[in-house]
Amino acid sequence: MALSTDEVGRFAGLLERGGDTLTAAWTEAVATSLRGRLSHAELHRQLAELQKGFQAALAEGSDLDGDAGAELRAQLNELSSTRARQGFTATETAVSVFALKDAVLAILDQGEGADSTALRDYVAFSGFVDRAGLFTFDSYVRAREELISDQAEQLLELSTPVVKLWEGVVAVPLVGTLDSARAQVVMERLLQTLVDTGSPYAIIDITGVPAVDTQVAQHILKTVVAARLMGADCIISGIRPQIAQTIVALGIEFGDIATKSSLADALRHVLRLTDAKAARRGARRGV
């Protein structure tokens, strides 16, 4: 519901006249709903600024979506993203805006008297605040979603380290469920490490993978084939008895890829291979 120029003017005036009393009443209302998780002074400062924002937006016109409301929108955005990051709920954030209505109603009761104009004005104003509140809600959700996607990315980074185990041997301890996105990250990181370190052997340890289905096996196989294409050999280790049973039951073929039950076995296997190589070279040189 759009406000007429008249109403807008009256409300801008009201907010200005209300001044500190209004801010105080507003702060009080919000403080109760937040249950003391934000200091009174801090809240007062935030709301005083927001009140100025409302006042400015109303003085220029009643349009929250247009240019006049840009400043107010920025403020609401800021408010909701800080709240979202501080862990307040959506309701607690939206109430910060809606409480303005209660505060204004209190002022109205004291001053102007409850004639029909005041009532109509109040309803119109209430509509404006509602829109502001909904906007806050949207911003809050957006801020939360950003937070979640950031965290998902961090998790991806954290969960796929490639460690150097021995001279020319790197290992990838996989922990957690292996979906396509993670498998891709693991593959890229492993292959890049192979290039960077010039290691001809890689061990993929799946001790921390809770379940192996055909898709996970497919991802692992792809990684092994890609590493082979680049000239490195992969060994799969950390296969638990149950997983071995699943692999056989599903009919997954690892072909000529070496599989070992523990990381230690895999390392021993690799060292034996490198030893054999060195011995052949030594024998040849020694002749």
């Binding site: 890609a226 294409l229 000239g231």
Partner: protein, 139 residues
């Protein structure tokens, strides 16, 4: 048309591909390499593709053909320096380049050749005589 240079280092022919592998370039390389193997009597070929961003199915097949031709001429081929992105693309395309030996870099490729065929690395002078003696001349 651009050509890929073939360098002889000791008993190995080194091919470093620094230009886009168009089909003609790949075919030309295949011919050049066969000629050079016969002319020099080398027993190892190293193809360095570390500068290649894209390896399509044709180039992949050409590499396989080069490896097969070289084997007939008694030379072992190693493809080295494939980039991770290239390897991933090939796997996604289902091309696993069967019959091609690979190594991470030129150095490891030379080591692999030396091990496979009891070749000497080019800087190993002390064994040069023995290698020369055991190696049968290329057809």
């Amino acid at each position: 048309m651009e050509r890929v240079p073939v360098l002889k280092i000791g008993d190995i022919l080194l091919v470093s591909i620094q230009i886009d592998m168009e089909d003609q370039v790949a075919l030309q390389l295949q011919e050049d390499l066969a000629d050079r193997i016969v002319a020099t009597g080398c027993h190892g070929v190293i193809i360095d593709i570390s500068a290649l961003d894209i390896v399509d199915s044709f180039v992949g097949r050409t590499l396989a053909t080069i490896a097969a031709v070289s084997r007939v001429l008694d030379a072992e081929t190693v493809v080295v320096g494939m980039r991770p992105a290239v390897a991933i693309t090939l796997v996604e395309l289902g091309l696993s380049l069967p019959g091609i030996r690979t190594a991470l870099n030129v150095e490891l490729g030379m080591e692999l050749l030396a091990l496979e065929r009891d070749f000497d690395l080019p800087d190993d002078d002390d064994e040069a005589d023995e290698a020369g003696a055991t190696v049968v001349a290329a057809p």
